[in-house]
């Protein structure tokens, strides 16, 4: 039987980020960071066709 290994070694307790009362797993910190990145990109990146629609209204 072929057993595929996980990409990361999962055979240990989760790594955590600790700062005062804040106690987060690294996995959750990564997800929260990604949410900030996606939020910033959603605001910053131009939407296809948006400028054309705005120009057409002027």
């Amino acid at each position: 039987m072929i057993v595929l290994a996980a990409v990361f070694n999962l055979n240990h307790p989760a790594h955590t980020v600790d700062w005062h009362f804040i106690h987060l797993s690294v996995a959750n910190v990564v997800v929260i960071g990604l949410m900030f990145v996606v939020f910033a990109l959603a605001i910053a990146l131009p939407f296809p066709g948006a400028e054309r629609r705005r120009r057409a209204l002027k």
Partner: protein, 246 residues
């Protein structure tokens, strides 16, 4: 065969009276007044909606559809199937990752709406229903994690019971009771989430998508005060289109 009405009698009067006596007619008229078909299913959106940040609401709904569909299949087949077959593992994973995506895009949607103060213009019920959906989605996910029927579920439920006991709800919301948690997870919480999402969307359709702050006008006002009439040029266009209403 038609019968001629006597002179001086309004032929439709009795029909109109009957219609207003009927609660179904009154409900229909109120519904059409509040949400006429062109607002319920619009074929265009205001110009300011052409931004990636406005996509996260519909992305949340798309994730919810996948969650409901995969969850329905898991409910049909049962724990032995989702633990011990390849296809079962696949649908279990689809269900899990759709939930992860649901929370991810819902939080970005929440941030996007918070920073445009989406409760403006009579939209407070839109904001409140969205907040309640978020709060109900959390125990919906928790009851799913404790319904897995594995060691992970046991670990999560024994950790969660202490929190729930500490706030005094453990007696009637027992996370170590699989039957109770599974019922909440597959019926009561999804029913609440789906009903609230439907209401949330109908409220958005009623009030329109919240527009951005009137950046152009504020820049022009600031420019007028500083004596520069050209100030604010180039910042316009985002409020164009209308249709959503403020």
């Amino acid at each position: 065969m038609s019968v001629a009405e006597p002179a001086g009698v309004e032929p439709q009067a009795s029909a109109v009276e009957r219609k207003h006596e009927s609660w179904t007619a009154r409900v229909r008229e109120a519904a059409v007044d509040a949400l006429p078909p062109e607002k319920l299913l619009p074929d265009g959106q205001p110009t300011y909606v052409a931004s990636w940040i406005y996509l996260f609401g519909v992305a949340s709904i798309a994730s919810l559809v996948v969650i409901i569909a995969s969850g329905s299949i898991l409910a049909l087949k049962g724990p032995a199937w989702w633990h011990f077959t390849g296809v079962g593992h696949f649908f279990n994973s689809i269900h899990l990752w759709a939930v992860e995506l649901f929370f991810f895009v819902m939080v970005v949607h929440l941030w996007g709406k918070y920073w445009v103060a989406a409760w403006r213009g009579g939209r407070v019920r839109v904001w409140i229903t969205g907040a309640i959906i978020f709060l109900i989605a959390i125990p919906t996910a928790l009851t799913g994690y404790v319904s897995q029927q594995n060691f992970d579920a046991q670990w999560i439920s024994t950790q969660a019971k202490d929190a729930l006991n500490s706030v005094g709800v453990g007696a009637f919301f027992n996370v170590t009771n699989f039957g109770q948690m599974y019922s909440w997870h597959v019926l009561l919480f999804p029913l609440a989430v789906v009903a609230l999402v439907a209401g949330h969307v109908l409220l958005v359709r009623t009030h329109g998508v919240v527009p951005p702050f009137e950046l152009q006008k504020r820049l022009e006002l600031a420019g007028a005060r500083a004596g520069d009439p050209s100030a604010g040029a180039g910042a316009g266009g985002r409020d164009g289109g209308g249709g959503g209403g403020a």
